[in-house]
C-alpha cells in the first residue's frame, strides 16, 4: 500500500458536480432603478455567490457612428476571455469623491499639520517634553493669528491643561497602563467629559434632498475651517437622506455655526443643528481610548508611555 505521504496533494478530487456553477443572472431594474447582478465563482476552493447592485441611469447622448461601431469590438490580448463590460480586476470606481480643490488651501497644509499636533497633544499621545515644547510653539502660532483668535487660544491652552489629567486617567498612576475594565468610575467619567470637550462635530437635520456636500461646505465654511462634511445618502439610490455631519477643526467655530444656523431657512426647509451624539456611551468610551493613543492591530491598547 502506498504511503499517505506519497499522495499527491494536488490530486484533483473535484467531480463534475463540484465544478458546477449556476448561470449568472440579472434582476430588475426595480422601481428605484436598481439592477441586481448575481454571478457565481469559485475562489480559494469555495463557491461564492457574488451579488452586485447597480443603479441604472439612462442618459441619452448622440454619438458618432464610428463610436457606435467600436462599441461592438471584441476583446483581445489579455482581456480576450473577459466577459463584456468592465472587469472587476482592472476597473474600479473610486470610493472617494474627488473635488477640484482650491490650491490656496495648500498653503494651509503646514498649519493643518500643526493643528494635527495640537489634537494629538490634547489626546495625550505625546510625552511631556514634547508637549512643553509644543505648547510654546502653539502659543506663538495662535498668538500670531491676531486679536480675533484670542478666544481660541484660551480654549486651546485650557484644554492643554486638561490633557495631563486625561493622560493620567488612561495610564493610571505612575504612567503605568491600566486596562479599561480595571479603571475606576472616575476614569470613565473623565473620559466621557473629555469626549464631550473634544466634540467638534455638528449634526444637521432637515436638509432638502437637493443639497449636496458642496452646498453644505459653502454654508458652513464662513464659521471656520471644516475638517469633514458627511452627507448621509441612501446606499442604493445615492439620494440624500436629509441629514449630515459637519466636523470643524475648533469647537468654537462649531458653536458659532450652531448658534447662527440652527433654525436657519435653507432651500424651503428649516435646518436643525445640534451637537452630534456618539451612538452609545460604551462605544464612545472605547473609541476615545482608541483615539487617545497608540493601539495594537487588534484594537487593544499598547503601553502609552512610549515616546
Amino acid at each position: 500500500m502506498a504511503d499517505w505521504a506519497d499522495d499527491d496533494d494536488n490530486v484533483d478530487v473535484t467531480t463534475e458536480l463540484d465544478d458546477y456553477l449556476p448561470e449568472a443572472y440579472e434582476e430588475g431594474p426595480d422601481d428605484k432603478g436598481i439592477k441586481t447582478l448575481v454571478s457565481f465563482r469559485i475562489q480559494d476552493g469555495q463557491k461564492q455567490k457574488v451579488i452586485r447592485k447597480v443603479k441604472v441611469v439612462t442618459k441619452k447622448k448622440k454619438v458618432s457612428k464610428r463610436i457606435q461601431e467600436r462599441l461592438a469590438w471584441k476583446k483581445f490580448g489579455l482581456a480576450e476571455d473577459a466577459p463584456p463590460g468592465p472587469e472587476e480586476e482592472t476597473t474600479i470606481v473610486s470610493r472617494d469623491d474627488v473635488h477640484i480643490e482650491n490650491p490656496g488651501d495648500e498653503n494651509k497644509a503646514q498649519k493643518r499639520e500643526e493643528d494635527e499636533m495640537i489634537k494629538r497633544l490634547r489626546s495625550g499621545a505625546l510625552n511631556r517634553k514634547k508637549r512643553e515644547e509644543f505648547a510654546a510653539k502653539e502659543s506663538t502660532i495662535l498668538g500670531s493669528e491676531g486679536m480675533g483668535q484670542g478666544l481660541r487660544t484660551g480654549t486651546a491652552l485650557s484644554q492643554m491643561a486638561d490633557a495631563p489629567s486625561s493622560l493620567a486617567a488612561a495610564g493610571g498612576p505612575g504612567g503605568k497602563y491600566v486596562p479599561m475594565h480595571l479603571r475606576g468610575g472616575d476614569a470613565a467619567a473623565s473620559m466621557s467629559r473629555f469626549e464631550e470637550e473634544d466634540q467638534t462635530t455638528l449634526r444637521v437635520t432637515n436638509i432638502s434632498e437637493d443639497t449636496t456636500e458642496d452646498d453644505l461646505r459653502d454654508l458652513f465654511q464662513p464659521f471656520g475651517r471644516i475638517q469633514r462634511v458627511y452627507l448621509a445618502r441612501d446606499r442604493e439610490t445615492q439620494i440624500s437622506r436629509g441629514f449630515a455631519y459637519i466636523s470643524f477643526h475648533y469647537r468654537d467655530d462649531a458653536q458659532r455655526a450652531m448658534d447662527k444656523l440652527n433654525g436657519f431657512g435653507y432651500d424651503h426647509l428649516i435646518l436643525k443643528v445640534e451637537w452630534a451624539k456618539p451612538s452609545t456611551r460604551d462605544d464612545a468610551g472605547t473609541q476615545s481610548v482608541m483615539k487617545a493613543g497608540i493601539v495594537s492591530g487588534y484594537g487593544g491598547a499598547l503601553p502609552q508611555n512610549m515616546g
Partner: protein, 339 residues
C-alpha cells in the same frame, strides 16, 4: 466626481492618450503591455501584447481614424498595431530605445525619437505610413540633431501645423525647429532650463504647451514660436494639457521617482493643477495619485481628463456639472476684453 481607476498596469505609466473622438483610451507603461480602454466605463478592451514589446513602452500614438496604433519601446523598436484586433502589423527597428512616436496631421507619416545607444547618437526618423504595405520600409528621412552633444538625449519631437516642420526638445530644455527632410535647424529656442517632459497641442493646433523638469510649463504661439505664458509650479512638470472648451490648462507632475519614498505625498505634490490659461493663475487642484503623475490627456471634448502615474494607476476623471457651470471673475474679465 468619482474617477475610474484602471489597474491594468503593474509598472509606472509612461503615456495615456485618447483617440480623436475620445471614446477610446490608450495607455502604456514600463510593463510592456500597451492597453486599450473604453473611456466611458473603464472597460479594458484589449492589450497589444502578441509578439509585442519586451521592456518599457515609452510612448504611443493613434491615427486620426483610430485604426492603427504606433508604439515605441525601450527594446529599440517601434511597432504598428491594428487597433481593433490587437494584431501587430509592422516592426521598425531603431538604433536605440524609442522615446517618442507621433503621427503627422492626416496620419500619413510618423516620427520617432530614439535615444543614443552603444555609440549611435540620438536620432529622429520620419517614416511613411502605409498599413497595406507588404514590408515595413525603412525611414524616409533620418537625421541627428545639430547642436546636440554626442550621447545626449532628445525627449520629444512634434509635428508643427500642416506638417511643415518638426520641433524637437532635448534633455537640456532646448527646443529646435527643423526642416522635415534634412533636419536643418531653422530656429533654436532656450526657454526651459531642464529636460522637456511633455508637449501638448490645443485642438486647433495654433497653441501648444511644454512642461519641463525646471518646474515650469509654458504656453507657446505655434506660428511665431514665441512663449506666451509661463505657469510656475513647485515640482517638475511631467505632463500638460489644454482644455478644448475652456480657457484652462492642466499641469501635473511631481518629484522624481528617486526621491519619492523619502517624502510624504503632500510634499510630493502629486496632484493635477488647473490654471487659467490667460491669467496663469492656479485655481484648482485634483488629488488622488500617490506617486508623481507621468502623463496626462485631456478628453477631446473637454469633459474630463485622464492621468497616469508612477504608482501604476490610471485615473479617468469626468468633470462634475459644476465644472462646466464654473464661472470665475476671470472669465468675466476675459469676456470683457474680447468685446
Amino acid at each position: 466626481m468619482r474617477p475610474l481607476i484602471l489597474k491594468g498596469h503593474t509598472r509606472p505609466l509612461t503615456t495615456v492618450k485618447y483617440n480623436t473622438e475620445g471614446d477610446l483610451l490608450f495607455s502604456c507603461s514600463k510593463d510592456s503591455q500597451p492597453t486599450l480602454w473604453r473611456s466611458s466605463n473603464g472597460e479594458r478592451i484589449g492589450t497589444y501584447t502578441e509578439n509585442g514589446h519586451r521592456g518599457t513602452v515609452w510612448h504611443l500614438d493613434v491615427t486620426v481614424d483610430s485604426k492603427y496604433l504606433v508604439t515605441g519601446g525601450a527594446d529599440m523598436t517601434a511597432k504598428v498595431w491594428d487597433v481593433e484586433s490587437g494584431k501587430k502589423i509592422f516592426d521598425f527597428p531603431h538604433t536605440g530605445p524609442v522615446r517618442h512616436v507621433e503621427f503627422s496631421e492626416g496620419s500619413q507619416m510618423f516620427v520617432t525619437v530614439s535615444d543614443p545607444f552603444r555609440g549611435s547618437p540620438a536620432c529622429i526618423s520620419v517614416y511613411e505610413f502605409d498599413p497595406n504595405a507588404e514590408q515595413p520600409e525603412g525611414p524616409k528621412y533620418m537625421w541627428e540633431v545639430n547642436g546636440l552633444e554626442q550621447g545626449k538625449k532628445l525627449s520629444k519631437a512634434t509635428w508643427m501645423p500642416l506638417n511643415k516642420n518638426l520641433l524637437s526638445a532635448d534633455e537640456f530644455g532646448v527646443m529646435r525647429l527643423h526642416e522635415v527632410e534634412s533636419g536643418r535647424v531653422i530656429r533654436e529656442v532656450h526657454e526651459h532650463t531642464k529636460r522637456i517632459n511633455a508637449i501638448s497641442w490645443n485642438k486647433e493646433k495654433y497653441l501648444f504647451m511644454t512642461g519641463s523638469a525646471d518646474c515650469n510649463a509654458i504656453l507657446w504661439d505655434a506660428a511665431e514660436l514665441k512663449p506666451l505664458k509661463t505657469y510656475a509650479t513647485e515640482r517638475p512638470v511631467n505632463a500638460v494639457g489644454i482644455s478644448p472648451i475652456k480657457e484652462h490648462v492642466f499641469v501635473a507632475g511631481g518629484q522624481d521617482a528617486m526621491s519619492v519614498t523619502t517624502t510624504s505625498s503632500r510634499v510630493g505634490k502629486f496632484e493635477t493643477k488647473i490654471f487659467h490659461m490667460v491669467f496663469a493663475d492656479a485655481f484648482g487642484s485634483i488629488k488622488g495619485h500617490f506617486g508623481p503623475i507621468n502623463t496626462l490627456a485631456v478628453h477631446p471634448e473637454g469633459t474630463g481628463f485622464t492621468s497616469g502615474s508612477e504608482d501604476g494607476y490610471v485615473r479617468v476623471h469626468e468633470f462634475d456639472p459644476s465644472y462646466f457651470e464654473m464661472h470665475s471673475e476671470l472669465d468675466d474679465l476675459s469676456a470683457l476684453q474680447t468685446m
